[in-house]
């Protein structure tokens, strides 16, 4: 009787271990599929903002992971054109039912334009965060800062570790 119980425990432990390990692998794959953006020149920050560079103008937005964790965005407060920003400065906020989350500038520069469509219809951030849901554009003054940002690959790895952290 006791031996049977022991065997049961051993089997359960084995299954648990196996299950856990396969779960972790699955999460990584799921993440890759979910957040893959089909290869791009986007750079990312650790606060889930992305930026694409075109000569000296950077376009900034938030990533898929960010828009998902925000929930439905009800209001977007974007920086006004002409505002001078340093990398890491608070430059606006996205309000969702959950909270008002700060937006940080990935690079230093002067804001040239903000996305009026997103101001009118904040839901664009949820439906098209990489395309129509861009937030603002700025004229970059320090090109070297771009190297401090994560590439698509590095960001995916970062998400993997972030996702496993206890929420």
């Amino acid at each position: 009787m006791a031996i049977q119980r022991c065997l049961l425990q051993i089997v359960k432990t084995y299954k648990l271990r196996h299950h856990l390990q396969s779960n972790i692998r699955q999460t990584y794959c799921m993440l890759c599929l979910k957040y893959s953006t089909g290869g791009s020149s986007r750079k990312y920050t650790d606060r889930h903002e992305w930026v694409t560079i075109d000569k000296d103008i950077g376009t900034v937005g938030v990533s898929e992971y960010a828009q998902e964790s925000l929930g439905d965005v009800v209001f977007a407060q974007l920086p006004d054109p002409g505002t001078d920003l340093k990398a890491g400065d608070e430059c606006g906020a996205l309000e969702s039912v959950k909270a008002a989350s700060e937006i940080y500038s990935p690079l230093s520069g002067t804001v040239t334009e903000k996305n009026k469509d997103v101001e009118d219809k904040p839901a664009l951030i949820n439906t098209s965060c990489y395309d129509k849901g861009w937030l603002f554009r700025l004229k970059i003054i320090k090109q070297s800062e771009i190297n401090d940002l994560m590439t698509e690959e590095e960001y995916k790895k970062f998400l993997e570790t972030d996702a496993e952290k206890p929420e």
């Binding site: 119980r5 432990t13 648990l16 209001f75 008002a100 700060e102 790895k157 993997e160 570790t161 206890p166």
Partner: protein, 419 residues
């Protein structure tokens, strides 16, 4: 003997589990140190390493308290130290970060009754505070932000100390007796820290609350976040013994006796391990930079100027007495005022003056418009308007507005004071 074996196996499986968890944790640390070393990836402590404090603000000024909240959010590191701040204020109305004060509150009434108006940094809707209302702010590192935990903690405290049963609805409001709201919630998330604050109505003046937040005709159209109105109740209505003071204490002890990451009762032994209650005196000496934060919060530019762009459209029927007596008009003669207000300042004004008013002698349109542009959307605009109309009187001894001009002024008054 069999039991001992089972125990050993269970404990070894637990060890495997822990081992796995540790492996993942170590992998996290290792991976994160590889990913951009300049990013300073944080390692969050385990539950047992976190201590808690309850801060009690000694100020009852809304602006000082909001500034203190902001100061803590910006300057304190909550990685190993979670804090719950309790505070209350003299009568005031607090609007959310992206709201429109003219839409949400009766602004002229507030200034008349000397009720302050403040705009907070977190999102959400409008609330009325007075000394019968308790505010609670939960500070934690951004990754450990958990609104549900906080609200459930309040629910437990209410039940443990006063036997009050409450529920949390889908909008994350605390409800008693199935329909009365006793608490509203809002939050702000930043790079490292997040805070969640909520109100608790203990013994607030409900009459003043309704008057301050009354629905009025305002003709405002905007994308600003609107509040969702609910019927409210005071906790004192459910249990006479409850006061803001003893509720504060009850909540504090509940916070301290609950482990940092999951809801459980750690009892007196856990309370003994925490940092306890601390009175906080929000002055610039203790919190350098606080005065500057407070000044920003008090400024008109923040409270009103921060309002998202909106348009106002109101129409006023012209009293028959002002129309040309000999004419008969087919349609109701209405004065229509349209305004765009940006950053709290009047930007664009269009006035539709009905033919009846023009024919009876009102010619002030152009000057009205130019004098209003750039003025604050308050009685300041109204005064500018009246001055403009007066100066138009080329005959210098006419120091009063004629009845048509008075009518137009009165209409404008209604528009800017949302009456």
């Amino acid at each position: 003997m069999a039991q001992a074996m089972v125990k050993r196996i269970v404990s070894s499986s637990a060890c495997t589990f822990a081992g796995l968890a540790q492996k993942t944790y170590i992998r996290n640390v290792a991976a994160s140190s590889k990913v951009a070393a300049s990013k300073k990836e944080r390692v969050l402590p385990t539950e047992g390493e976190i201590t808690k404090s309850v801060f009690m603000s000694q100020s009852t000024d809304i602006y000082t308290n909001l500034a203190l909240e902001d100061w803590l959010y910006k300057n304190m590191d909550f990685t190993n130290h979670h804090v719950m701040m309790v505070w209350r204020n003299e009568p005031c109305v607090v609007i959310g970060r992206h709201q429109n004060p003219w839409l949400e509150a009766n602004v002229p009434l507030l200034s008349e009754k000397e009720i302050a108006l403040a705009r907070r940094n977190s999102g959400g809707g409008t609330v009325y505070h007075d000394r019968g209302n308790l505010n609670i702010t939960f500070f934690a590192p951004r990754e450990r932000y958990d609104r549900n935990y906080n609200l459930k903690l309040i629910k437990r405290a209410l039940f443990r100390s006063f036997g009050i049963k409450s529920t949390i609805n889908e909008r994350q409001d605390l409800i008693v007796r199935d329909k009365y709201k006793v608490s509203g919630t809002a939050a702000k998330l930043g790079r490292l820290t997040g805070y969640h604050h909520c109100t608790l109505l203990v013994n607030a003046n409900k009459a003043d609350l309704s008057k301050a937040l009354a629905k009025r005709e305002h003709g405002i159209q905007t994308k600003a976040t609107a509040s969702t109105r609910s019927e409210v109740a005071n906790l004192k209505d459910l249990d006479n013994r409850i006061t803001v003071e003893n509720l504060q204490t009850a909540l504090g002890y509940e916070y301290l006796r609950t482990p940092a990451l999951h809801l459980d009762d750690g009892g007196q032994s856990l309370i003994a391990k925490q940092r306890g209650f601390q009175f906080v005196n929000p002055t610039d000496d203790w919190f350098p930079g606080l005065a500057e934060l407070k000044n920003d919060l008090v400024s008109w530019d923040w409270c009103f100027g921060r309002t998202p762009m909106f348009t106002v459209s109101r129409s006023f029927p012209v009293p028959i007495g002002l129309l040309a007596p000999s004419k008969v008009y087919s349609a109701t003669q209405e004065l229509v005022i349209n305004m765009t207000v940006e950053k709290g300042l009047i930007n664009d004004v269009t006035l539709s003056i009905p033919p009846g008013l023009i024919e009876s002698g009102f010619h002030g349109e152009a000057s009205v418009i130019t004098h209003l542009k750039g003025k604050r959307f308050t009685s300041e605009a109204l005064n500018a308007l009246q001055d403009a109309m007066l100066t138009r009187h080329h005959v210098s001894d006419v120091k009063e507005l004629d009845d048509k001009e008075q009518f137009v002024a009165k209409c404008f008054d209604q528009v800017v004071n949302t009456m």
